[in-house]
Assembly symmetry: C2
Homo-oligomer: 339 residues x 2
């Protein structure tokens, strides 16, 4: 499997991207990574690293799309940017997948316009893998923020695509799919979720009904379907809550005198573990579902570990031939798109 890595545009790029690639090819035997971006800079970074030269190559691109760039303009005009060069080569079938930590909007537009959507898909979704209170269990949230003002039929697609991901990539048989709603009862919801609920009942997916946002992290479902605006509310609230918890705890410890400080030192490993889960790298990024090829968005502040994980995720998706699986799942549920 050959994954192209957009090495520019993220906060810690290109250093962390290059370092992540070296770690990823060490971990996965049949993974090759192509580093896309300014070859002088990338080669300079590679110079001191020890790695299998056959597994990491460089593809030159002279421009960089930044977070300040307007997505559509950036994709149209920055034709020699690391993101556009990687996307075009991916679309041409040169690679099996792509990872980028750059401008999310530009990556979404670029994936949609250049790599194109799977037949029958109205919009690509950006889906983070949420941590849960169970160590070995993730839940995929479709959509995590790429699409607002969704139609009910889009939520139906999200459900099918999310189910295909969890079954093909994570090996979960008959994954449980739930609809994010303001109440568990069937009659609850706004006009979107009520209509979506009715549509979801008429699919061959394992639809378990509505769940409330309080259940997001409790592993109740394998797939949680939501309008991207609502998905964004949940992700950002969880992020803020995590930050608030540690801000307050730090203050209480400072105010708590010697006893609290000693307690903190003893409890540090547990608290660190908690912090790691709560500020999980997985929440910041996500996978694009609905695109013809595998595209993974690493979060903007990705460090080397986050890049390594994103590359492995892309590898797993490519290995599972996810785009084909999604296409099949959609055909099987023969979507009728309303206009």
């Amino acid at each position: 499997m050959k994954i192209v890595l957009d090495c520019f545009g993220g906060d810690l790029c290109p250093d962390s991207a290059v370092e992540g690639a070296v770690a990823a090819v060490q971990e996965i035997k049949d993974l090759e990574v192509v580093l896309c971006g300014d070859e002088k800079i990338i080669n300079e970074l590679l110079k001191d690293k020890i790695y299998d030269k056959e597994k990491i190559t460089v593809r030159h691109a002279s421009e960089v799309i930044t977070n300040d760039d307007a997505p559509v303009l950036a994709i149209r005009r920055k034709k020699d940017s690391s993101m556009v060069v990687a996307l075009k080569a991916l679309a041409n079938g040169e690679y099996d997948g792509m990872v980028s930590s750059g401008n999310t909007g530009a990556l979404l537009v670029g994936a949609t316009l250049l790599v194109k959507l799977i037949d029958g898909v109205q919009r690509a979704s950006l889906s983070p893998l949420l941590p849960t209170i169970f160590d070995d269990k993730n839940t995929i949230l479709v959509d995590g923020g790429a699409n607002v003002d969704c139609k009910p039929s889009m939520l139906r697609e999200f459900a099918i695509m999310g189910g295909a991901y969890m079954s093909a990539v994570k090996g979960i048989e008959n994954p449980k799919v739930a609809l994010l709603n303001n109440g568990a009862e069937e009659e609850k919801g706004n006009s979107l979720t009520k209509e979506a609920h009715a549509l979801l009942k008429n699919t061959d997916i394992n639809f378990i009904g509505n769940i409330e946002a309080r259940d997001l992290l409790f592993g109740v479902a394998d797939v949680i379907v939501a309008d991207g605006f609502d998905g964004n509310m949940c992700l950002k609230t969880a992020e803020g809550m995590g930050k608030a918890v540690f801000t307050l705890l730090k203050r209480y410890i400072m105010e708590g005198g010697l006893k609290a400080k000693l307690g903190y030192l003893l409890l540090k490993p547990s608290l660190r573990k908690l912090k790691k889960i709560m500020s999980s790298d997985s929440v910041g990024g996500g996978v694009f579902l609905g695109v013809k090829k595998v595209v993974v968005k690493a979060h903007g502040a990705s460090n080397a570990v986050a890049f390594k994980n994103a590359l492995i995720r892309a590898y797993e998706m490519a290995k599972a031939d996810l785009p084909a699986k999604i296409e099949n799942a959609l055909k099987q549920n023969s979507i009728q798109v309303e206009e």
Copy 2:
């Protein structure tokens, strides 16, 4: 100030309601509480309590609206329920405010149909006072879940009503009002928040623009305006996140051996403080804004302290003559309701 307390319908009712009332009249000099519900049961509970007999009286009602009752039917048919009796007496001007921990939907319907809405208000909102990382600062979230599929003009009303609350009841001069959105930039949002943003700019309130859900608990604004569906997403995510944090921490401590357990014991006061803020009684309930009289919803699991706080909150709102202040603020911004 005379506040009527619906003593039935909550999880810990009527015991905690009666106990909360006794505590409230002890704390506030010019507060009288009327306990509404089965007089036999209430008098039995009052028997052992020490309190000023002039400050607590009983108003009989023979029925109870439960959480299983359908809201509209319950209000129409259970005419001698503690909730309906209290609401009708409030509407007649017998009391200055009301507190209930009963069926939220029924209370909203009852307040709207029996007590009625202030002129120019399209819908009453249910607004929790969120804790922030600053001990002495709350943010009011309007709407916290009462109304879904809001129109932009409703969000404009929510902003004005929330501002009136923070200025009249909390004494905040020119309260900062923000719109909950999926991005801080003006052009971000779904169709609702984009239109609402434009409307909010044309008010005399102190509109500071969009904020993201990650900022909810950081005291950035005094009032946060949202569609009730989105408000619900945020409140429930925060609730679930709080639960997840303590579930995981407990597990890590158990796995962490003697050192972690000792650390936990030393850090217990800090962790308890954190837990108290995060599972704050204020988040579970809220105030109804837009109703002609003061109505406070205590959360369903209210204990005596939560009831005492809800009664004090109703007292403060009545003392500040909040409904009149809201009416004035709406007139001043001469709402044009689109149909």
